[in-house]
């Protein structure tokens, strides 16, 4: 019977995608006035900053809304030769993990910091799925400033979701794994594999993250998470699938149970247990990478311990709320009352009530338990069901008028429905197969309900083709009226898995223009052209170099020998907005450097051939940019030529 159902869905999805030609002709003929709604005239500014995850590119992109213009790709988990991230000596430690240097990551969910349940524009957090990590991006510099690895976790997917006052960033594990990791037969999954839910505390001044504790739950797959808001502040909700705990052919074996769970975790209660000392300290191994603003250099530190809370021994920390059919999305409305679960194989969207949940806990309306964790009775926590809204519901966001917007992957549409009455108000197709939807502030207590962005996985015929590999896309809808209106779609980098957005007023005033030279405490910084030098220590050579319009100092260097390890430490002496300088050196096996005003960056160059090799500024900095160049003379290994350096013969 089950198999027939799946077969039916497959057929339906083929029909739906097949019908797209027909659908499109209905909707791509946009009204003329629609264009005006997304047109941001030359010189005008967008209203919103949107942070779109780059998915398997490992990066985070910054777009403007409503225009859909791309402003910056912030490198987070992957090396980026454009900005030398992960190539220069300063940022290499950012990509260190307990597995060593990992040049790539799979970035999924950006989420913005909040104060009182309202996004505040201080930091953006984003998770890495493959080598479980959470990164923090500072929104004054739009640079990755911290990455923390998560032990006992695998497939870090239900992360990083931010609580009302950014007390915690949460990170759940999608794959059950043996904890601690060990050599064990895979069919011993049941009972031996665990799901670690990590709670990362955030320092309110510095933003620094610290893995405070992990709640060690049964080895289900924790798919998505959402913090309680307002009245449910203090709770964290995770959707789970594979409550069957199967370890092979999950597409069938993990789809057997009629209901999986939403795990409700009371982190305030967990904090109490932590205070009482009711935790175990587990030896483990993970790294914590931090970029220091003062030295402009990152360091990587290995951490050895983590505090574990066992929910079976700490009653009241975890409850399971039954949820039909492998729920994916798990979303809490702005008031904190409704917990929306989207059973991705169910035809309905099921909503639980926080008030009812608290009542069920108080009156012990339980329907059994799993590994010592009480399962609440489904009927007693149910708030309502949105009936037959579409096929394959995934994620829900909210506006400021009590409406919810759910994406439907299989039927490729966005459905608007009303909280409380559960009636479907509107539906609009998306092109094609949206994953997440995003409303600026739509997962917080205060949504800015003007736009909705659908993040599509498939584009097929939407753009001029580029061979077999096509871009993915984002589609912007106006949701200020009764009916949603498709405004535009634009291609994205990598996979725009999830996104977060904020009004520009929250971020723009704090955006740094330059790094102040006097605050640069890089150990190899040179702040005055007169102090440049070249220093040899065995076969290691340090070049203390400066750049300013339109020359390097020094720009002639002699006395370098084959086999030397030459570090170019280049300080950009500019103190003017938007005047970066770059440097590319012939024969270098790393990337170029791109150095912002007041910054120092370091590139390593290991010359292999005798000769005179040029270097030049890679960023078109000024009218005499082409003249911004220099030479390094490389002599044979046994040469006796002394180190010397000069600028204009001096």
């Amino acid at each position: 019977m089950k198999k027939y159902n799946l077969f039916g869905i497959a057929i339906l999805s083929i029909i739906v995608l097949g019908c797209s030609e027909f659908n499109k002709s209905n909707d791509s003929g946009l009204n003329n006035s629609t264009a005006e709604k997304v047109f941001v005239a030359p010189g005008e500014l967008d209203d919103y900053y949107a942070f779109l995850s780059g998915g398997f590119s490992g990066q985070l992109s910054v777009y403007g809304l409503p225009s859909g213009r791309l402003f910056k790709v912030i490198p987070v988990f992957s090396q980026d030769p454009e900005k030398a991230y992960g190539y220069n000596e300063e940022t290499k430690p950012m990509l260190n993990t307990s597995f060593g240097f990992v040049p790539w990551g799979d970035a999924h969910h950006p989420d913005l910091s909040q104060t009182n349940g309202i996004i505040d524009g201080r930091w953006c957090f984003i998770n890495e799925n493959n080598t479980p990590r959470i990164a923090r991006i500072d929104l004054t510099t739009f640079e990755t400033t911290e990455i923390i690895e998560l032990p006992n976790s695998a497939g870090n997917h239900s992360s990083p979701y931010v609580t009302d006052n950014t007390e915690y960033v949460v990170a759940g594990t999608r794959f059950g794994v043996p904890v601690p990791q060990r050599d064990i037969s895979i069919d011993k999954y049941k009972g031996n594999f665990k799901g670690a839910l990590s709670f990362i505390k955030v320092d309110q001044d510095s933003g620094e993250m610290n893995l405070e504790f992990q709640v060690m739950t049964p080895g289900f797959d924790y798919d998505k998470a959402h913090p309680g808001r307002g009245k449910s502040h203090g709770w964290m909700f995770f959707s789970t699938y594979n409550s069957e705990e199967s370890n092979s052919l999950l597409e069938v074996n993990a789809s057997q149970n009629d209901k999986d769970f939403i795990a409700a975790v009371n982190w305030k209660k967990a904090e109490e247990y932590l205070k009482q000392g009711k935790y175990k300290t587990m030896k483990t191994n993970y790294v914590h990478n931090k970029y220091d603003e003062h030295t402009q250099t990152a360091t990587s530190k290995t951490m050895k311990e983590v505090k574990i809370i066992d929910p079976a021994e700490c009653p009241g920390v975890v409850y399971f709320l039954p949820m039909p059919k492998s729920p994916h999305g798990c979303d809490v409305d702005p008031t904190g009352e409704y917990i929306v679960g989207s059973g991705k194989l169910s035809a309905n969207v099921t909503v639980h009530s926080f008030t009812k949940m608290m009542d069920a806990i108080e009156n012990e309306k339980f329907d059994g338990e799993a590994y010592g964790i009480p399962i609440l009775n489904f009927e007693d926590v149910l708030a309502g069901v949105v009936k037959q809204p579409g096929l394959g519901p995934l994620h829900t966001e909210f506006d400021d008028k009590g409406n919810a917007y759910t994406s439907f992957f299989i039927s490729s549409e966005i459905v608007k429905w009303k909280l409380g009455t559960w009636e479907v108000l509107d539906r609009k197709p998306s092109y094609y197969s949206p994953g997440h939807v995003m409303i600026p502030g739509g997962n917080s207590q205060k949504p800015f309900g003007k736009y909705l962005l659908a993040l599509n996985k498939i584009t097929k015929d939407r753009y001029i083709p580029t061979g077999p590999e096509l871009c993915q896309s984002a589609q912007l809808y106006d949701i200020s009226g009764k009916k949603m209106e498709l405004l535009s779609d634009f291609p994205t980098i990598g996979e725009p898995h999830y996104a977060a957005a904020a009004p520009r007023e929250l971020i723009m005033p704090n955006s740094k223009k330059i790094y102040k030279l006097e605050e640069n405490h890089h150990p190899y910084a040179v702040k005055n052209e007169k102090d440049v030098k070249v220093v040899r220590d065995g076969n290691v050579v340090h070049v203390y170099m400066t750049s300013i319009r339109s020359h390097f100092a020094p720009d002639n260097i002699e006395g370098i020998k084959v086999g030397d390890k030459v570090y170019f430490h280049v300080t950009n002496l500019e103190q003017d907005f938007d005047t970066p300088h770059g440097i590319g050196i012939m024969g270098a096996k790393t990337s170029e450097l791109l150095i912002m005003p007041g910054q120092t960056e370091t590139i390593i160059w290991e010359p292999k051939k005798v000769g005179v090799w040029p270097f030049y500024c890679t960023d078109f900095c000024s009218a005499l940019h082409q003249e911004m160049q220099g030479y390094v003379r490389v002599s044979p290994k046994d040469s006796t030529i002394k180190l010397s350096w000069s600028l204009d013969g001096e």
């Binding site: 309202i118 505040d120 319009r549 500019e574 003017d576 005499l624």
Partner: protein
């Protein structure tokens, strides 16, 4: 004291301010510099208009071979002494009932002012004409003479791609004002010497007028300012001000602006300040978010249906009727300013 004496006294005293503020400003703007770069000239130093401006002006100028802007010029050494001397004799003259002295003071200050302007022009001339022959960029005019880049003495002028503007700043205007006042003192003094019979009431009226001018000069600074959302911090709870419907502001008589993220925070603060010290109390309202409105005239509601940042769910309405209308359609209770300012805030 005669009125003319008072004026010459005032003219001298306002010059003291000139020690503490810049007198002149030269700015450069271009399409690539939407925020102009510039320098402020004081009587004893040159400073950046915005941080690093002089460095950036020098960077631009080195392409066409102009000298860097000097950090110090000899004039800066003796300008403060000259100004001190002028103030000193001005004060001295104000104790002497002789209007001819005032015209002397006027002539001194005018001559010194003109000399100062000439000095500034000379400096600009040298700066714009004395160019490094090895400069990277050389321009020639139509007859083939090397182009010069002298900025204007006063006003605006295009210098290559830059619009150079040279204008007095507040200190400069004070110098002009002082010069004008000394001339005024002379004419009034002349009249007073002739008449000899100025009545007390006239003098009183004049005193009042003078006091009024001085007070209004000071108090014109006392005004509300726009709230920078996402940037300002609540003076009471120290949280960042985000909510455009509930932010509030107090302006004290001294012109101090206190900003709050919610009406409840503002009310709590009012308990700490003397009511007589307050010039304005303003709140955002339901009808026009982010527009500050007189708090005394607002109507207030406490309603579960509008959440306020600090949890009291207190919202202001400009219009009593729309508040009543809101309550009729939703939950909550209504208050006026008197009631709300007496309510127990710890609930």
């Amino acid at each position: 004291m005669r009125n003319s004496q008072k004026i010459i006294f005032l003219a001298s005293v306002i010059l003291i301010v000139v020690f503490f503020i810049p007198v002149w400003q030269v700015t450069l703007s271009a399409p690539q510099y939407p925020d102009p770069i510039g320098m402020n000239i004081w009587i004893y130093k040159i400073t950046d208009m915005n941080p690093n401006d002089i460095k950036n002006i020098n960077l631009m100028n080195h392409y066409i071979g102009m000298d860097p802007i000097p950090e110090f010029i000899p004039e800066f050494k003796y300008f403060p002494y000259i100004l001190g001397f002028v103030i000193f004799i001005g004060l001295l003259f104000s104790f002497i009932k002789k209007h001819t002295l005032y015209i002397v003071w006027f002539l001194i200050i005018s001559c010194l002012g003109l000399l100062g302007m000439y000095d500034f022009w000379l400096w600009e001339y040298n700066f714009g004409h004395n160019l490094n022959p090895n400069a990277a960029i050389k321009f020639f005019d139509e007859i083939g003479n090397p182009m010069s880049y002298q900025p204007p003495l006063i006003g605006s002028k295009m210098v290559l791609n830059f619009n150079a503007t040279s204008m007095p700043l507040f200190g400069g205007y004070l110098l002009f004002l002082s010069t004008f006042l000394s001339l005024l003192a002379f004419f009034i003094g002349k009249k007073e010497t002739k008449q000899h019979t100025s009545t007390e009431t006239k003098s009183n009226k004049f005193n009042y007028a003078l006091t009024f001018i001085i007070i209004s000069l000071i108090s014109c600074e006392v005004k509300p300012r726009d709230i920078k959302y996402g940037y300002d911090e609540c003076k009471f709870c120290k949280m960042r001000v985000m909510d455009k419907q509930h932010a509030s502001e107090i302006v004290t008589l001294k012109g101090k602006v206190l900003i709050f993220d919610s009406i409840e925070c503002m009310l709590k603060k009012t308990k700490e300040i003397d009511e007589n010290e307050i010039k304005f109390i303003l709140t955002n309202t339901y009808e026009e978010p982010s527009v500050l409105y007189n708090a005394y005239e607002s109507t207030y509601i406490i309603s579960e249906d509008i959440l306020s940042p600090m949890g009291m769910n207190l919202t202001a309405f400009q219009d009593e009727e729309s508040a009543i209308d809101f309550i009729n359609h939703n939950s909550g209770e209504i208050y006026n300013w008197k009631e709300i300012s007496k309510i127990n805030l710890e609930k």
